[in-house]
């Protein structure tokens, strides 16, 4: 009978309104760089502590779902990802907007986000215990291999020159190392400055590299009139939804798993899904990075699927899948629940309630997402002389809002200028961000992995080769590395010649 709780948010007008309001607010919070869902939900904890638990949860779930989607808005329209999970969206979303297809891009990303969200929720509903058992089995070495797999995405984000991409990725890894070492509190690259102890704000780097550098770039064509946006086709055709269905199911699976892992979240999921799309899409209508629709669909389905994924270890084991679910766990404590492995047994109705609220929030997301498009794309049609000061202003506010720190604003502007020159000389910025995101994951888990094997490389490899999961990840790393080298096409050619020995006479 606990299943009835699934419909609670659908049947109670107040709960429904709260989910709706949360989703709408989440879309805007997500769209503004610097305002994060984590921040919004933690503020809500103190705001809603006197509320009924169901009311508070309904609002938080709405904000979570809306916020993850909202980041794609500014990524597509202004090349500023509203949240780290929308970084991959900007790679092909913004080129689409530049071609006058912002309306279509937003429509497609909205529909696909909803689809990804629903797939994530379905996995949560039907396979939560199995997935969480799988997710907690990830050892430090597996996280390390996953991070290496992530770092190899440099290969697909480098554009024209792999060497320049590798350089950019290394720069990102170095930026991520700045600050007190998380395991030993030793200072790294701080040069004695207290301001650097906490590291360089990742959001400041992201806003600077994406938003500001693009604005500076566009200043070179200040008098070119803005591209007229076609807004006739906003809701994607059934045909294109069907066309992307296989890809979105694949990228949703990536999203659910990465989301369910306690150490990783939507940002890494979206980037990995983007890379996957690039690998499996044989003939994109336009090249990736220039406005390929598949490059938009994959990250958007993956980051929303990661929402359902993040709830999996949280509801089954009381282990947060990401920073937002960690805060929701805190909220549940305050409301007298004990989130943990017993929650599903003692209070099964909570599980179904959350599942129902997530489905409803996805519905609201689709509705709010598709209705506002016509108004939003007008932003891109603003004269450039007005648009770029606006982008700069938004970037400054965004960088400041994260820690209320002016230092972050200077970092953001500095990285904006750096990004401008890097672009000018043919360096892609994606690998830099990738390096920053993965830096801690790779650093912490490499050290954990080698420490737990008593600093013996032989034992580490023994561990990798005797665990099926580690072995699969290791093989994937080797395969992707190998197929990115010039050896691979040579080998393939030779194999084909062998398989096909008699040329047609």
């Amino acid at each position: 009978m606990d299943f009835q709780s699934f419909f609670m948010t659908f049947l109670d007008l107040r709960l429904m309104a709260l989910v709706g309001a949360g989703t709408a607010a989440g879309i805007y919070i997500g769209a503004i760089p610097g305002l994060s869902v984590t921040m919004a939900v933690s503020i809500l904890i103190s705001f809603t502590f006197s509320w009924e638990m169901y009311d508070a949860l309904a609002l938080m779930i709405g904000i979570y779902m809306g916020g993850v989607y909202g980041g794609s808005r500014t990524a597509i329209l202004l090349n500023i990802p509203g949240a780290p999970s929308a970084i991959a969206t900007a790679l092909d979303g913004y080129p689409l907007a530049k071609k006058g297809q912002a309306g279509e891009a937003i429509g497609l990303s909205t529909t696909m986000s909803a689809l990804g969200g629903l797939i994530g929720i379905a996995v949560l509903g039907f396979a939560a215990p199995a997935v969480s058992e799988f997710a907690i089995r990830f050892q430090p070495r597996d996280y390390m291999l996953l991070a290496i797999l992530g770092i190899l995405l440099v290969g697909s984000l480098s554009g024209e020159s792999l060497i320049k991409g590798v350089f950019a990725g290394a720069l990102g890894l170095t930026i991520g190392c700045v600050g007190l070492d998380p395991l030993t509190a030793q200072e790294r690259f701080t040069f004695g400055h207290i301001e650097l102890w906490g590291g360089i704000s990742f959001v400041a780097v992201m806003i600077g590299l994406f938003g500001v550098s693009e604005a500076l770039m566009q200043l070179q064509h200040i008098n070119t009139p803005a591209v007229k946006q076609k807004i006739s086709r906003v809701i994607p055709s059934w045909k294109s939804v069907v066309k992307f269905l296989p890809l979105s199911i694949q990228s949703s699976s990536i999203g659910v798993i990465i989301g369910a892992l306690p150490g990783t979240g939507g940002d890494i999921a979206a980037l990995m899904a983007y890379d996957h799309a690039k690998r499996v899409t044989k003939d994109p209508e336009v090249p990736f990075g220039k406005g390929a629709r598949a490059g938009l669909v994959a990250p958007e389905t993956a980051n929303n699927a990661a929402v359902g994924g993040a709830f999996i270890p949280m509801l089954t084991l009381g282990i947060p899948g990401d920073s937002v679910t960690a805060i929701i766990i805190g909220a549940m404590f305050i409301h007298g629940l004990n989130p943990g492995p017993m929650l599903m047994i003692e209070r099964p109705e909570m599980f179904w309630f959350i599942l129902g609220a997530l489905v409803l929030a996805t519905g609201f997301m689709l509705f709010f997402g598709l209705t506002g498009i016509r108004l939003f794309v007008k932003v891109v049609e603003l004269p450039r002389a007005m648009l770029f000061p606006l982008i700069l202003l938004l970037s400054i506010i965004g960088a400041f809002a994260v820690n209320n720190s002016l230092t972050d604003v200077y970092w953001m502007l500095g990285f904006g200028v750096l990004g401008y020159f890097m672009k000018l000389y043919g360096y892609q910025l994606g690998p830099v961000i990738l390096g920053v995101i993965l830096s801690r994951l790779i650093d912490d888990n490499w050290r954990r992995a080698i420490i737990s094997e008593r600093e013996d490389l032989g034992r580490l490899f023994h561990g990798i080769f005797t665990s099926p999961l580690s072995l699969v990840l290791f093989m994937a790393v080797v395969m992707i590395f190998f197929t990115s080298t010039p050896l691979w096409p040579m080998l393939k050619k030779r194999l084909r010649r062998k398989a096909d020995p008699a040329p047609k006479a």
Binding site: S42, I43, I45, S46, F49, S50, I136, R137, F138, Q139, P140, G179, L180, D181, P182, L183, T184, A185, I194, E195, W197, G198, P262, G263, P313, L317, G318, I319, P320, S323, A326, I327, I329, G330, A331, F333, I334, G336, N338, P339, G340, P341, M342, N404, D444, R447, R448, I451, S452, R454
Partner: protein, 332 residues
């Protein structure tokens, strides 16, 4: 005349300052949580703060700033102005920074205690598949398999390192120590089999224990605990630990030293009253924490005593970087 004028001006300044202070808090207060989301410090702080906010009539926005055994959060708070708008929500760790070489400060030298809220009971938990069920069996296992057992840790000076030092003072603990960001991630790793044994605070592990996802190896206390029926305290088999116990991590809210007294008093009232709220008391019970509820000089004395016991424990265990003597910390 001049003197009179000066007096009048300073009196006016005092009145003005008083008026300004009376309005505290006039903007959002920042709460820096020293440990990761989902961990024990996080749970306690997020539960008590809404009640304190009610008494205070202001907003406390909480943020987790992890790393460096809590030193990153503590050092950050020390860089902020001493105006009561940045709270450090921490655990006991800074009381060990001096001897662990993590900093030349502690709560009593660089901070002003707002409220010490609760203390936890340390336990030793293990993966259910581990081939030992009691501390005595673990000791035998480690003797037979040196360095094979993987202990989770949260860095030098964290609770696991102190509990390990205490255990090592009486028996031989031969293990490999794997560092994690906090007890939350480490307990996850324990359930996933990445580590074998974890010294943890009872509250953080309780739900997983109830569900039999992890098992209790030792209750590191000198009395049985209501939350763990049937588990004997470690002193039963190893009476030698009696001299260190009871010992436990504590949670408190702090502001930078030099914060105006009336602001500290206002915050203390808010947090101590907030800690009386029924649902917070219930939460402490559910999570097996014992309330402390101290502020001002009492809180400082409590921490000084804790520091003396613990510093000498890690010094004698040989994991201290600098002797407590250097800092004038008396031997208990």
């Amino acid at each position: 005349m001049k003197k009179k004028l000066f007096g009048a001006v300073s009196a006016a300044a005092l009145v003005f300052a008083g008026a300004a202070m009376a309005e505290y808090p006039e903007k959002e207060i920042q709460g820096i949580i020293q440990w990761g989301a989902g961990g024990s410090t996080d749970a306690v702080m997020r539960a008590v703060t809404p009640h304190a906010e009610e008494v205070l009539g202001g907003k406390v926005v909480m943020q987790n700033m992890t790393g460096g055994v809590g030193a990153i959060a503590a050092k950050f708070t020390m860089t902020q102005p001493a105006d009561g708008y940045t709270l450090l929500m921490g655990a006991e760790n800074p009381m060990l920074y001096k001897v662990m070489g993590l900093g030349d400060f502690d709560y009593n030298s660089a901070f002003e205690p707002v409220a010490l809220l609760a203390r936890g009971v340390p336990i030793l938990v293990a993966n259910p598949d581990a081939p030992y069920n009691t501390f005595a069996e673990l000791v035998d296992y480690m003797a037979a398999h040196p360095e094979e057992v993987k202990f989770g840790s949260t860095g030098p000076g964290g609770l696991p390192s102190v509990v390990t030092a205490m255990l090592d003072a009486e028996v031989d603990v031969s293990a490999t120590f794997v560092p994690y960001d906090g007890d939350g991630p480490a307990l996850t790793a324990l359930q996933g089999g990445a580590i074998d044994v974890m010294p943890a605070v009872l509250g953080a592990a309780l739900e997983a224990i109830k569900a039999e996802r992890i098992k209790v190896i030792a209750l590191v206390d000198n009395t049985p605990n209501e939350a763990l029926p049937g588990v004997a305290p470690i002193t039963e088999d190893f009476p030698g630990y009696g001299k260190y116990l009871p010992w436990g991590p504590f949670f408190g809210v702090f502001v930078k030293a030099g914060t105006p007294e009336d602001v500290v008093a206002k915050l203390s009232t808010a947090y101590l009253e907030g800690a009386q709220a029924t649902d917070f008391v219930e939460l402490l019970e559910n999570r097996a924490y014992l309330p402390i509820n101290l502020s001002g000089q009492d809180a400082k004395d409590y921490m000084a005593k804790w520091q003396s016991v613990t510093s000498w424990l890690v010094q004698d265990a040989g994991i201290a970087k600098r002797s407590p003597e250097e800092f004038g910390i008396p031997r208990p």
